[in-house]
Symmetry: C2
Subunit: 354 residues, 2 copies
DNA sequence: CATCGTTACTGTATCGGTAAAGAACCTCAA
DNA sequence: TTGAGGTTCTTTACCGATACAGTAACGATG
């Protein structure tokens, strides 16, 4: 026996296939009795419901939106902060009945998820500009939302005030009297190592913005920071190492500004391993205000961003973009920037010699 | 201008639509020159690649597998342990080019993701038996894998030795000399509260197994535990409250066995809030050996399970199930049970009066 | 009684592709 | 010269549904 389709049911009931389709998808197009009869027969035949693939082709909707996270899903999922973002998206999406498809950059036998999986739209979180996934999704002309990426015209974006937050962090450190300052930043591409000059081009949007934010007040104060640039893999380990390297420099930095709380925790551990104390010997500032920050000892001074709001904003921007693509209205393309706020906790203090 | 399809390109190049399809999907079916010409024209016309929906309908593959987590994605994603599981799945899936679609139980306007999203298969992690998502996926006859659920015949499953692990935990506590023992368990359905008798029916597989494991050595030792049963929402808060309730009982328990490390942490905090100390006054055992366990102070004695192995096993079982459904072979249906191991850390000790 | 609006259902065209078999042509050994 | 076998492209036949226009029946309206 072949597969049960709308036609099978239609034949059994003695109506047209379209009426069966309506029984499932547009209940008000037929009488209640007939609908019940159709559903009963469908049930009897073991029919589950309109086949998603057929429906998707005919109706033009897939019922799922894509999410590309940092190109490497594996590491994104070890990051508490990224997971919180994911959770916020999931929560915002749930009541819409849309599923969330996690896309990876990997491909197999010419099958590229970002190109070949049916989607109604996609969220791009913190991807490299030259990411192949981003490229495919763009070429598909899917409704998109960029999160933590350089805004592009015509594509909705959600960012946080990275620059302002970083500037606040730097100002805080300067006001405490620090002059020997180090920065630990991080990115997925470009050069790694310790630089006298901060990296210029070729860094992702978020990193660039934070760098600009940190550097501005320092420039005003005529302070030149040492910059260590790390990869993305294991923030704790890399922070630990970076701390060792930075602390070996002369003059030794008395304050370290970090790209994230996860890195800051590694740096903190590295400082303690070097026999120094935070904040007495070295002050640390993190970024993001992830749960880590409040939990660590000493509690991290950090730049807070509302990851929950970011996730929800991203999801609803995507819903608007999908609506716009479908009906032509749904508001105009928005470039949202959520605020950041410096949270002073216990990891920063005036330098010793002050 | 309408949309660019295979036909558009075929007309431009002057070949049949099928040849264009082959140019994209089966390169060895045509000459390299013609293929290049076709791809060039396709590129020129802004054609991205075969439309995923059309391809899905014709070929019968969607390119994505579903994952249902605990019915409430929101809470699953706040659970470090569940996220680690997700990460392991994602990692195992990545090289296969399959995307991972997160399914929720919610529906909207009669659209039910588990029924209406195109998938090649699905993983069900720790769902209630009567979960509507599980029900739909089963009825669709999709290749499935059950994880942390009662094995069903014909459906691959991955579990851990919950019962043995729990028994080891209970035995450890008994051997230390404890006789006044409490259990803090947790489930998404059924009755909540403190019971003299442990809940019987109507609890999910994992909970049941762990209960059976804890109770068996206790029965042998003629010890009757107090059982507190919590919901799923906020393990820390609920553990905190449960601790308060249990400590108020007479005789006061000297050891508490917890369903998870997340709950154990709440219980630990509750014990300390009550002015008691762990493990001097009260011993605690967790479950899972999530990162939390080693991190907490005192470090938690817990039952270790290899969440990474679980995730990978689940993913590859699903791949096998998909293969089986497609080609008829791919091995037989397996019911895997991964080992657990008691990890004794600092949260357990002999009771005071011992 | 002719006209009109509803309700309830049907017919036709299409969505964008793939599978499988067939045809045309070319190569090369016997 | 022939014919087996390979390469390359085409033909035919779907995959399972939805959109949209159309029609029949029926009661209401003037």
């Amino acid at each position: 026996m072949g597969r049960v389709t709308l036609q099978t049911i239609a034949d059994h009931v003695g109506v047209s296939r379209m009426t069966v389709s309506n029984a499932f998808s547009r209940p008000n197009q037929l009488s209640a009795q007939l609908r019940d009869r159709i559903l009963a027969v469908a049930d009897e035949l073991g029919y589950v419901g309109p086949d998603p693939t057929g429906r998707a082709l005919a109706s033009g909707t897939a019922g799922s939106v894509g999410l590309v996270m940092s190109d490497t899903l594996r590491y994104a999922l070890t990051d508490e902060f990224a997971v919180a973002f994911l959770a916020a998206i999931a929560e915002e999406l749930t009541p819409t009945g849309l599923a969330l498809t996690l896309l990876t950059t990997a491909e197999k036998d010419g099958f590229i998820p970002a190109r070949d999986v049916a989607l109604d739209g996609a969220l791009l979180y913190s991807c490299e500009l030259k990411s192949p996934a981003l490229d495919w999704l763009t070429r598909r002309r899917l409704p998109l939302v960029f999160v933590d990426q350089a805004p592009a015209s015509g594509i909705a974006s959600v960012n946080v005030a990275d620059r302002a937050g970083a500037a606040a962090a730097a100002r805080h450190i300067l006001e405490l009297g620090h002059r020997k300052i180090a920065i630990v930043t991080c990115g997925v591409a470009g050069d790694y190592g310790v630089f006298a000059d901060p990296p210029g081009r070729n860094v992702a949007h978020t990193e660039r913005e934070r760098l600009l934010g940190w550097l501005e007040p320092m420039k005003e104060a005529r302070v030149t920071p040492a910059v260590a640039r790390l990869g993305h893999e294991d923030p704790y380990e890399m922070g630990l190492e970076a701390a060792a390297t930075l602390l070996a420099q002369t003059p030794r930095p008395t304050a370290i500004l970090c790209f994230s709380d996860a890195i800051a925790r590694g740096v903190l551990a590295g400082i303690e391993q070097a026999g120094l104390s935070v904040p007495k010997d070295v002050s640390i500032v993190g970024f993001d205000d992830s749960p880590l920050a409040a939990r660590s000892r000493p509690a991290l001074t950090t730049v807070h961003q509302d990851v929950n709001a970011k996730g929800r904003a991203a999801a609803s921007a995507l819903l608007a973009a999908i609506e716009r693509a479908k009906t032509g209205n749904g508001g105009r393309v928005r470039h949202l920037v959520l605020p950041t706020e410096l949270i002073v906790r216990a990891s920063t203090a005036a330098p010793r010699d002050h």
